[in-house]
Symmetry: C2
Subunit: 336 residues, 2 copies
C-alpha cells in the first residue's frame, strides 16, 4: 500500500518525520511505499545521505504548510498546495491508500472529511485514541474531531470503536461505556441521557453503562465514548497530569533522598514509555472512507514509525468494511 | 458561627464525620459551634466517650438519609427529614451560618439553591475546587453544580472564582483561563467562544485566554473556568489517573527492585498527601446566599476537619460580600 505522510506537520517536522519514515522500512512489505508529502528540496536533503531510501520512499512535492495555530477550514481554502491538502487530494484521487499527519489536527480532520468523504451510513467521523492504563489499553472516542455532537454521533462512535477494539486490540466483545459524571442513569447532561438510551437498545453492543473519569483507569471498560470537546480536554489533561506527577515525584525524591532519585529514574523511564503516546503511534479518524491517522503534534520519529505500523494493521484487518457492515445493521436503532 | 455538618453523608459516615468534627476543636473560637445533623442516637453514641464535646458540638436530629445514588431533586422531595434537607432548612431559617456535606453532591447543591437562594445578581452557583499542581494550587469552577451552562454562567464563575482566589489563596490579581481544546480563538465549542468574548470585554478581570487540559499543570493560570460536566469529568479523571500512576510506579519498582520500592513508599506518601483532596477539605458552592461547602464522598476525618477550616476562612474573609459587589459592577457586561 501507499502510505502518505505529512512531512511538514508537527513539532519535529521535517527531520522527525523523515527519520520516522526511514525507520519504518522493516515494517513494510515489498509493495508498500511511504510517500513523504512536503517541500521536496527539504525532504530530499534529509534523505540524500541514507542509502537505499528510494526502494521504499517516494516524495510528493507540496509548496505550502498549514501552521498548528491556523484556523483549519480557512487554512485549507487559502493553501490548496499545503502538505495536508495535498495528502487528502492524493488519497481522494486514489494515489494514496492512507494518510498520516502530526500537523494541525483540525485541518487534517477537515481535509479528510471533505476529500475522502464518510463511510456509508456514518454521520460524523471521530478520533479514536488508545489510552494506556494500569488495567490495560482503553479506546477513547472522540477526542476532538467533532465538538457539536448529537446522540446518534456518540452511538456510532461506540459502534466504530467496538470494531476497532475487536480487530486491533483483539478484544472479542469490547465493553463500551459512556463518559459521564456519575454511574446513575439520572446523572449527566441531555446528550449523555439520550445516547445511553441508544446504547441500551442495541443488544449487539456490550454497553456497561455510564462511567466517571476515574473508572477509566480501573479496567471498567474497553471503549469510552464521549463528545469531542470533553474527549480532547480529557486527553490533554491526562498528558499534563502524568507529566506533572512525574516531575513532583522526582523533585520529592531528590529532596528527601538524592541517591534514591537516581535509581528511581530507571523505573520511571519504563512507566513513562508505557504512558507515552509515541508508543501508540497515532489515532485513526474512524468513519472516513479511507485511512487517516492523526498523530500527536509532538510525535518523535518513533511515534511516526508506530503510526505507519497502525496504518498497516488498520488496512490488514479491513476495519472500514467491518464498520460499514455494523453501521448498516444498526440503521434501525437510529430510526432512519 | 454555627457550622452545620451532615453527619450521615459520605463513605465514612457517621464515624468519620463525628471524628472530623471533634478534631476541629482547636480551630474554633469561643462562639463557634459545630452542629452535627443526623440520627441523634447514632451520633450521640459516638460522642459519649469523648470528654467535653458538649462545649463545641451540638446535635440536630434528622431521621432520614439521602443515598449517594439517589436522584437529587426526587430524594429531597421524598425525604424532607433527611440530613441534607434539614441542613439547608436550618440555614434558611437562620439557625446555621454554614453547611458542610460529603453526601450526595447533587442533592446538596439542589437543597442549597432552593433554600439559601442565590446571591444578588448571580445566575447559577458553581462548585470551585482547589486543584494542587506542581506549580501551585489552581481553582477550577464549575466541577458539577451546573451541566447546562450558558456563557453568562461561565463568565460569573470567572468573577466569583477570582474573588475566591484573591481572598483565600492570597493572589492579588488571579489569572483566569477558559478550558478549551486549543489556545487559539477559533478553537472550542460555541459556549467557549461566546464566554471568551465576555471575558475579553471585562478590563477588571485578568483573562489569560483559552487553555488546554495540560496547561493547568504548568502554572499557566490561577483560575480555570469550565462548565460543570467537563469540570466534573476532569476532576474525577485527575483522581483516577493519579491513583493509577502511583500504582503503576509501585508495581514497576517492585518488579525491578523490591528494596527500592520500600524506600519509594515514603516519598510517594508525601506526594500523595499533596495531591490528596482531604488536604483541601471541601469546595465552596460559590454564588449561594450563605456558605455551603461540598466535600468529596470519600472524605476522611482529616478532610472534614479541613472543610471546617475552609468554612471559617470563607466567613472571615466575607467573600460573599466581595462576590456581590463584583457581580453588581459587571451587570453592564451581561447587557442586563
Amino acid at each position: 500500500m501507499r502510505i502518505g505522510v505529512d512531512a511538514m506537520g508537527g513539532d519535529f517536522a521535517p527531520a522527525g518525520l523523515v527519520e520516522g519514515a526511514l525507520a519504518a522500512k522493516s515494517l513494510l512489505g515489498n509493495d508498500d511505499r511511504v510517500v513523504l508529502v512536503g517541500d521536496e528540496a527539504v525532504i530530499r536533503r534529509r534523505l540524500d545521505n541514507q542509502a537505499g531510501w528510494e526502494q521504499f520512499i517516494r516524495i510528493e512535492h507540496a509548496g505550502e504548510v498549514i501552521g498548528m495555530d491556523e484556523s483549519p477550514v480557512e487554512a485549507l481554502r487559502q493553501k490548496p498546495d499545503s502538505s495536508i491538502a495535498r495528502l487528502a487530494s492524493l488519497a481522494a484521487a486514489g494515489e494514496l491508500d492512507a494518510i498520516i499527519s502530526a500537523g494541525n489536527t483540525g485541518a487534517c480532520v477537515a481535509a479528510a472529511q471533505m476529500r475522502l468523504r464518510r463511510l456509508r451510513g456514518v454521520h460524523r467521523p471521530g478520533i479514536a485514541i488508545i489510552t494506556p492504563t494500569y488495567a490495560g489499553p482503553v479506546i477513547m472516542c472522540d477526542v476532538g474531531a467533532n465538538v457539536n455532537c448529537r446522540p446518534q454521533h456518540l452511538y456510532q462512535y461506540g459502534l466504530m470503536s467496538s470494531e476497532y477494539s475487536r480487530y486491533i486490540c483483539g478484544i472479542e466483545k469490547p465493553r463500551v461505556a459512556l463518559l459521564s459524571i456519575g454511574e446513575e442513569d439520572a446523572k449527566g447532561n441531555q446528550l449523555v441521557k439520550e445516547t445511553r438510551d441508544l446504547f441500551k437498545n442495541d443488544p449487539e453492543l456490550k454497553f456497561v453503562g455510564n462511567i466517571e473519569g476515574r473508572d477509566i483507569f480501573h479496567g471498567a471498560c474497553d471503549v469510552v465514548v464521549t463528545e469531542g470537546f470533553v474527549g480532547n480536554v480529557a486527553l490533554k489533561l491526562m498528558e499534563g497530569l502524568a507529566e506533572g506527577l512525574f516531575k513532583s515525584t522526582c523533585l520529592e525524591l531528590t529532596r528527601s533522598n538524592p541517591d534514591l532519585a537516581g535509581q528511581f529514574e530507571h523505573a520511571i523511564t519504563k512507566i513513562r514509555e508505557k504512558y507515552d503516546f509515541n508508543e501508540y503511534g497515532g489515532a485513526p479518524l474512524l468513519g472516513v472512507n479511507g485511512i487517516c491517522i492523526i498523530c500527536h503534534g509532538a510525535s518523535r520519529p518513533r511515534g511516526i514509525t508506530n503510526a505507519i505500523r497502525v496504518t498497516l494493521d488498520f488496512a490488514k484487518t479491513h476495519i472500514n468494511d467491518r464498520i460499514t457492515e455494523r453501521i448498516a445493521q444498526c440503521r434501525g436503532t437510529l430510526n432512519e
